[in-house]
């Protein structure tokens, strides 16, 4: 049976795929899938029109709008879509694995409120956040960094499943809206960077320094 735990396991696996994806487009699509899955997750937690709406909204934003936006932003990328993280894919994957392990262990040690839901929520959230951080820290390209940010946000979203009832819809909508606008603004900036900066500079983006 497809439980929340299964879903979260898939989300965890997707983290590794994203970390290992060498093509930017693939990575974006993988994050989109992750977003879709997470969008569906609240349906396991609670029932009612509010949750359905929230779920739909999340799916739309995380699974459709944002990936489309990013794909649009990389549309006129001049250099090839392949990218190499700092330290290489293997190291990044190994670190991701280590981080996931640590998260699983750490999440296990945290005192949890007795919940009828999956016990994987907290570890999955931490692991996804770690994967997001890993992408942010190791990926060179602006787009993959914003992907890292998305993964990070996904991790936070996983945790929010525990609090579905506590967080009012208004706030959820606000969070989603903010996320969307954030990525939208990032997309615009990325586009400008690609258009105005010379590709070599884009690699570093570190002319402002001491």
């Amino acid at each position: 049976m497809f439980t929340l735990t299964t879903l979260l396991e898939i989300v965890l696996l997707l983290n590794f795929f994203v970390l290992g994806a060498s093509r930017l487009r693939t990575a974006i699509n993988l994050v989109a899938v992750q977003g879709m899955l997470l969008g569906a997750a609240p349906l396991w937690m609670e029932h009612g029109a509010r949750v359905v709406l929230l779920s739909l909204g999340t799916m739309a934003v995380k699974g459709v709008l944002i990936p489309r936006l990013l794909l649009y932003a990389m549309r006129d990328l001049t250099i090839g879509p392949e990218f190499r993280p700092a330290g290489g894919f293997i190291a990044s994957l190994l670190l991701g694995a280590a981080g996931t392990g640590a998260s699983l262990w750490f999440g296990g040690t945290l005192p949890l409120a007795d919940s009828e839901h999956s016990s994987l929520i907290v570890p999955a959230s931490l692991a996804t956040i770690f994967a997001g951080f890993l992408m942010l820290i190791t990926r060179v390209k602006t787009i993959s960094q914003s992907l890292g940010y998305l993964v990070l946000e996904n991790g936070v979203f996983v945790f929010s499943l525990l609090l579905i009832e506590a967080v009012p819809a208004l706030v959820e909508i606000g969070v989603l809206l903010d996320l969307f606008v954030a990525v939208f603004v990032m997309g615009i900036i990325i586009q400008h960077i690609n258009r105005e900066l010379d590709p070599l500079e884009v690699q570093h983006l570190s002319s402002l320094k001491e």
Partner: protein, 666 residues
């Protein structure tokens, strides 16, 4: 009190009307001088009235700024004593400025200078009457920052900007130390009062407060080795600003020292001992530096350090008096310190005015380019000579009187008069130090005076020199008059010191007993004899002078060139310069002065023309502070590897901070 506050307000705004006027018009400067003088007269009247009538004089207004600190000002003996120079020197300086810093000649900075000249003086007055530390800090910083603007008046010259910067760093270090001091005192005592009730301080806290005060106020006063800012600032500021700074501003450090020491409980012996030692070091090394300077304003500045050393000796004596419960040492120590503050204000301002006059006439500060000015600027030369005699502490002028007090106190530590109480012979060792200071001062000032005013002109700058105008001469002559008057009639002045001594003593937590034993200053030192002998000296010299003049009438004299020991073509360039005058002294103090000497190597039979150069920069600044800061700065630059522009690294910091804080408590 109202009159006093009105006076301070008038001085504060004295430059304002002029600042709003057209920069080409000169009426602003007259207005400034008039308001400032009127304010000062009001202030003097107020202080004089208080000294004559006495009484409680306090003003306390609720002030919600810093919780627990009202706006509280008031007068006591110590405040009154320090107000006097504040009401004399700035007013004279603003009059002097009419001639020295004409608006028509300094259109771009004259207005600014006058605005901050008044503010600086008012800041000093406020800090002196402040009765809590917050008001004190206000006055203090207004003074310090205004003085920065004044020092940096001609900031388009690199040396001026540099001097301003060094000053600023030193003054801010002082201010922050005082922040620490007053904040700690307020925290420990529960109130911002000044003088505070120090009885509650533990010995450790009192020691800490003593050291903080010594550093904080020592920076401003210029006690070695905290004097680093002083020579540059005094030399590069316009001369009436130098007069204000040297004459009054650095004394605010002295005021702070006296004020804070007054209420610290149970001074241990080492406080007084440390002050004596610092005083002797400042005096001797300060004068060694002074003697080695070519720049006469730097020379005067180093001599200010020397005088601060003398004042510090007196302060140490007063503290020793409190430690050992010897009321007579307290009287002589505080009395000597405050009186020397007055005297230094008079003669050092006079000397800086004279220096300004020379600078105005010749446009150089280099003694080696001067000489023979006495013929062209006789009045300035006369004023400088009297100022020099006074600053050397020679009778019959005022400098001698205050040093006399300090000497009597220092000799007193041997147990004189007999049976008056415990003795402390170690402290008396400062007396030979003071004597050495005096003798060095004679050497330094005799050669400086001669280098500037006597002999033959060493450069063409002197040829075109002109005597100062009356706006400059009047303040100078007034100050000469004050120096002579104080020197010849010290008994008239001395009673004004008694309230200061009483205020200092009774502020101590255990001061009541000691205060009861205080005797008036006039009973402790034979000031009558000093004036009698001073007058006798004047009379004797006048008589001798008249006799000699009679024998030197043109009928009996013939004139010739100076005897050149047979050399027939002497030129003015062959005269001894200030560098040569100081050569022996510089050599003796080489270990402290670290002179920079560039001498040519001469190894041929017929050497080509060569040049020889020496300079004595401030060794503490140039050999210690600057290199230390530079190397620290260089080392700190290493930290820039943390900010190399890579956003991924920055994100890693975020992650690291997170992890660190999460695991910190475990």
């Amino acid at each position: 009190m109202n009159l006093l506050i009105a006076a301070i307000a008038m001085i504060a705004v004295s430059g304002l009307p002029g600042a709003l006027m057209n920069r080409r018009r000169s009426s602003g400067q007259f207005l400034a001088a008039m308001i400032s003088t009127a304010g000062s007269i009001c202030g003097l009247l107020a202080v004089g009235q208080w000294l004559a009538v006495g009484g409680q004089s306090d003003l306390r207004i609720a002030w919600s700024l810093v919780p627990g600190a009202d706006f509280h000002v008031g007068l006591d003996g110590l405040s009154a004593a320090f107000l006097l120079p504040i009401f004399v020197i700035p007013a004279l300086g603003s009059i002097y400025g009419l001639g020295y810093w004409r608006q028509s000649e300094h259109a771009d900075n004259g207005r600014k200078l006058r605005l901050f000249y008044g503010l600086c003086a008012a800041g000093m007055a406020v800090l002196v009457v402040a009765r809590n530390s917050v008001v004190f800090l206000f006055g203090w910083e207004v003074m310090a920052l205004s003085a920065f603007v004044l020092v940096a008046t001609e900031d388009d010259q690199p040396s001026v900007a540099e001097a301003g910067w060094v000053y600023l760093v030193a003054t801010h270090a002082a201010t922050l130390t005082l922040f620490g001091l007053f904040a700690a005192l307020a925290a420990l005592l529960g109130a911002f009062d000044l003088p505070a009730d120090g009885g509650k301080l533990s010995p450790a806290a009192a020691n800490a407060a003593f050291l903080l005060a010594l550093v904080g106020f020592g920076f401003k006063a210029g006690i070695m080795p905290l004097h680093v800012w002083l020579p540059g600032a005094h030399a590069n500021a316009p001369s009436h600003v130098s007069a204000l700074m040297s004459g009054v501003l650095i004394k605010m450090g002295v005021y702070g020292l006296l004020r804070v020491f007054s209420f610290l409980p149970d001074p241990p012996l080492w406080w007084g001992g440390l002050l004596l030692a610092l005083g002797v070091v400042s005096g001797v090394i300060g004068l060694a530096f002074a003697a080695a300077q070519r720049d006469f304003k730097r020379l005067l500045a180093y001599s200010s350090i020397e005088n601060i050393g003398i004042i510090s000796i007196a302060t140490g004596l007063a503290l020793l008096g409190r430690t050992t419960h010897r009321a007579d040492w307290v009287v002589l120590g505080v009395g000597g310190a405050v009186w020397h503050v007055w005297n230094h204000a008079l003669f050092k301002s006079l000397l800086f005015f004279c220096a300004g006059s020379v600078l105005h006439a010749t446009e150089t500060r280099d003694i080696n380019q001067l000489g023979g000015l006495a013929k062209r600027t006789p009045l300035t030369a006369f004023c400088f000579l009297l100022g020099a005699v006074a600053v050397c502490g020679l009778p019959p002028l005022n400098g001698f009187v205050s040093e006399f007090l300090i000497y009597v106190g220092l000799f007193g530590t041997l147990g004189i008069p007999d049976g008056a109480g415990p003795s402390l012979p170690g402290a008396a060792l400062a007396a030979p130090g003071l004597a050495f200071i005096g003798a060095l001062a004679v050497a330094c000032y005799a050669t400086a005076f001669a280098g500037i005013f006597l002999g033959a002109p060493r450069s063409s700058r002197v040829e075109h020199a002109h005597e100062a105008n009356w706006a400059m001469l009047v303040p100078m002559l007034l100050l000469v008059g004050c120096c002579v008057f104080v020197g010849l009639a010290p008994g008239v002045i001395a009673p004004a010191l008694d309230p200061a001594i009483a205020a200092w003593t009774s502020a101590a937590p255990d001061g009541a007993a000691l205060a009861a034993e205080l005797k008036p200053l006039t009973e402790q030192v034979p000031l009558g004899w000093l004036s009698a002998l001073g007058l006798a000296l004047v009379a004797l010299a006048a008589f001798g002078g008249a006799a000699l003049a009679a024998r030197l009438r043109p009928r009996f004299t013939s004139s010739s060139v100076t005897w050149g020991c047979g050399y027939l073509a002497p030129s003015a360039r062959m005269q001894y310069t200030s560098t040569s005058f100081s050569e022996i002294l510089t050599g003796l103090f080489r270990w402290a002065l670290r002179p920079q000497i560039r001498r040519p190597r001469i190894d041929e039979l017929f050497p080509h023309s060569a040049s020889f150069e020496t300079a004595v920069p401030d060794s503490v600044l140039e050999s210690v502070v600057r290199p230390a800061l530079r190397s620290l700065g260089q080392r700190i630059l290493w930290f820039r590897v943390f900010q190399q522009g890579n956003v991924r690294v920055y994100l890693f910091y975020l992650f690291a901070a997170l992890l660190l804080l999460l695991i910190w408590p475990y």
